[in-house]
Symmetry: C2
Subunit: 591 residues, 2 copies
Amino acid sequence: IIIKEQNDPFTGYGKNGFGDKIMLKEWIDAAAKRKKASLVLKNGSYADVFCGVVRKGDIAIENGRIVGIGNYDGEEEIDVSGKVVLPSFIDGHIHIESTQLSPEEFAHLTVPHGTGTIIADPHEITNVCGIQGTEYIAEASRNLPLDVVIQLPSCVPSTAFETSGCVIDGAETAEYLQREYIHGLAEMMNYPGVIYADPDTLQKLEAAIEKGERIDGHAPGLQGDLLNAYLCSGVATDHECVTPEECLEKISKGMYVHLRLGSSTNNIVNKFPAVNAATMRRFLLCTDDKHAVDLMERGHVDDILRLCVANGMDPMWAVTMCTLNPAECYNLKYKGAIAPFYHADIAVVDDLRNFTVRYVFKGGKLVAKDGEALFDTKRRYLPETVLHTVRLKRPLEPSDFVLRLKGDKAHTIGVMEGEVLTKDEVVSVRSENGDVVCENDVLKLAVVERHHGTGNIGLGLLKGIGLKGGAVGITVAHDSHNIILLGDNNADMAAAGNRLAEIGGGMAVCSHGHCDSVRLDIAGLMSSEDAPVHAANSAKLMEKVYALGVDRKYDAFLTLAFMSLAVIPEIKLTDMGLFDVRTFSFMDINA
Amino acid sequence: IIIKEQNDPFTGYGKNGFGDKIMLKEWIDAAAKRKKASLVLKNGSYADVFCGVVRKGDIAIENGRIVGIGNYDGEEEIDVSGKVVLPSFIDGHIHIESTQLSPEEFAHLTVPHGTGTIIADPHEITNVCGIQGTEYIAEASRNLPLDVVIQLPSCVPSTAFETSGCVIDGAETAEYLQREYIHGLAEMMNYPGVIYADPDTLQKLEAAIEKGERIDGHAPGLQGDLLNAYLCSGVATDHECVTPEECLEKISKGMYVHLRLGSSTNNIVNKFPAVNAATMRRFLLCTDDKHAVDLMERGHVDDILRLCVANGMDPMWAVTMCTLNPAECYNLKYKGAIAPFYHADIAVVDDLRNFTVRYVFKGGKLVAKDGEALFDTKRRYLPETVLHTVRLKRPLEPSDFVLRLKGDKAHTIGVMEGEVLTKDEVVSVRSENGDVVCENDVLKLAVVERHHGTGNIGLGLLKGIGLKGGAVGITVAHDSHNIILLGDNNADMAAAGNRLAEIGGGMAVCSHGHCDSVRLDIAGLMSSEDAPVHAANSAKLMEKVYALGVDRKYDAFLTLAFMSLAVIPEIKLTDMGLFDVRTFSFMDINA
């Protein structure tokens, strides 16, 4: 394994660096003013998340920790008058892979937005590369000025109804949970497996419970007795709530609920009625899936804070939901508050309305200023285990995409704006020469297995996105990340699939035989490029998609990426066929 | 070591019994109604501590855990209509020794009051018997229908200014923290040792931090920079706050604050201004020191709940402070709430005003009904290590108590009603034949070393309790538990001390040469008798004290027991002499 060198510019931050060494005497001496603190943030205000108020006071920092609040002088002083000192932000649930960036570049992009910690579920790359994918995220994240808390993916594959790159069973889960870099079991999205007490699923959960690990959940719409059954597995969080009533039932039954603002999920405000003085302590903020472009344009957790406050939430509640609350939920000791003994992971903002981040400190070191990272991430960790991951049985041919129906009514995947949920829509479809004709906004969707060269291809129909005269494809297709293709003609679909195989994974747009593409060289999921380069390439490619008539309210690639996610209702497509999430079984496309 | 037998009637509860075995399939099946739950509490209401409201719903219980809330049928059903189902109560900080009962009898007395868990600091017995005292509490508490969470005492002795039965230094602390029955480091009352960075004290704290253990605090009146310094040691709780402002500063700086209602501490209501919707989550309830008689007459945590609600606190806030909040603070996993997967540690009460406890369940088993324990505690664990612990150099003589002053002004310990704090009061004192004359409510106080036969005797004066014509004495004298004697004549003081030595520890009252006494055979701190017997004996003895003119607003023995506690301001007496807690040094009695 090629590990970043010892003299790596990031060494000195993070898990093994400043702030994690116990230096009681130094801290106590500085707090008691027997010696000057190394750094003092002078003359500012700070968020007291324990009392829910903003207070005045200097913040004294010594050897990685906050040691004093009050009136302090420091060896070094930074004037923060007029600004507010906050604990740096915690993203309560994120798949780094969805940013399409390497962990290094992710940190470079998000730390200047005030992010200090992320709860990272490397679910996507683990479904492609197995535990070596998890390990890659852990290694690439070491010594970044960002705490990457890595959970072990619980659903590899998510369901038995698709072909993933790897399988991690109950026994392997128990084994991997012992690894030093693993903190908790990531979202248990196989809720039917839990509810019906599938032995392999229960083995995973038992192993996590025995080790005392936090178990994240994922249970859209689950309620009543079935929610009780799901919770009896030790699952303790949910980030899939749709309504305030769902939030309240889940909180009432002991769950922490994440309010999520990702690239294709923005339904936070409708859940505000569930947030009150009593329930507030059980809410967390998260992005889950957020693309690099959105991170660049809108920010990270700071973006969620702005949204919450703009929509009337008490700013201190919003701050608490991305600091103290996730620290408690995920047992991040002495993180998430401005208080003595707490890690000096700090974001200084102009105010609690725009949350413009001026300074970011990690373990007491200044790591970003005025939106610019003060560390570089040029060197990347790129082991062979996560490269060259697209393997087809043979090149695709147009005939692979012929879809023969029995009649003229078909179940179609109906796309919903701002949701990863779909609707089962029965539509009238015309066929010619034993193949569906794509018209009236009904398109062909295909999922091509790409890990083991099985030759599996699942075919279905999708409605409501507006594409005409071409095909788009991507190797990001939750959660097994086969090739997913959408088009109105078989030739362009085949061409797009073949282009993706040629470049070792990525995104492609083909129209009348001409293809454009962007590489996602890391597991077919992430680019090793810098964020601006990758974002520019992606934006250029997206324009080619919109040129094919796709409605601009959709991010075609991201929407596409969720159309094979067989754990989110109502219907999805995998490499094995059309899947009904409501009954957790394959369904006939013929209606 | 004599351990209770395997067929002990309690086996099946507690740490190693029901509720701690992971039985996911059984729980899930019962929650999903594929099989009937073993027990259902039907038709009642329950406290939802996550939302701060009371809801309607049946509570289904299976194999030690709550598995469902809603409409459930059970193999066994208990009708709780009109009642409220609560998580059983957690006493956030208690010294069992202060009840003067064995752990077995303590459980027998408190479980019917709804107590499910106590955070126990065996500070007193460890100061007498060393780690064997801690171990005794652990062994005696095994398999009780009560979770006794045992912390390692951090201050053995509390200060270097007294002679304790044992010393546990930093290296030993690090070693003992590894023991299976230890959960956390108990109250660090040596706050000057922390603030001035005493190396041995820091070694103890570092060991606890490294093991990730909760560290309890004890810092009456500490504020500002010195509080910052104290907190920089990892201390995270305080149960000594006096004012609401002190509570708020401590919470603001990250501490959990215990509201305490013990036998001689009842100043909770004055702190209510510090409790609000934001800070509520950081408050806990505790008794700290509460005598058997008070437990019998007023109850345990239920007594605190009644007090809080009677004084206007939201009942759900009060309940949350003794359920969810301490569970979070002390990392008691899946305890402290009525929710699926949570331990079925339950108290069913008539209402949220009187908190009359009807049923108590431990791990889903009915263990108390209508105030009666449904288990017996006749067999006690009584190892030789905690018996016969009073060792004098030689019998005491009246001349041991001669107090010669330089002039006619002396520093006197001023007793305060309802507080363990004292005031330094300078009074005029008359002497005859080179000895103080006890008059005008000024009495002689003596602390006689009783562990190693050193012959140490500390002498002082105490004001404001009303005793005449005799002496009282007790082998409970915080925190080193030497013999403490109070009297107005030397002969009775000597007689009382000698009686205590004869009976192996306890309480004694002597007047004109006649002595009455009650044995505290376990370490000179606790009685192996049943609570009613011990309470009756104690009450009878107390009447003898009141017959000597002691003001009935004081429990003379309990008040006396705190007069040597050299960590609580302002002045105290140890076997080494009069001690000024404000300066943490010995002081001259001559004013």
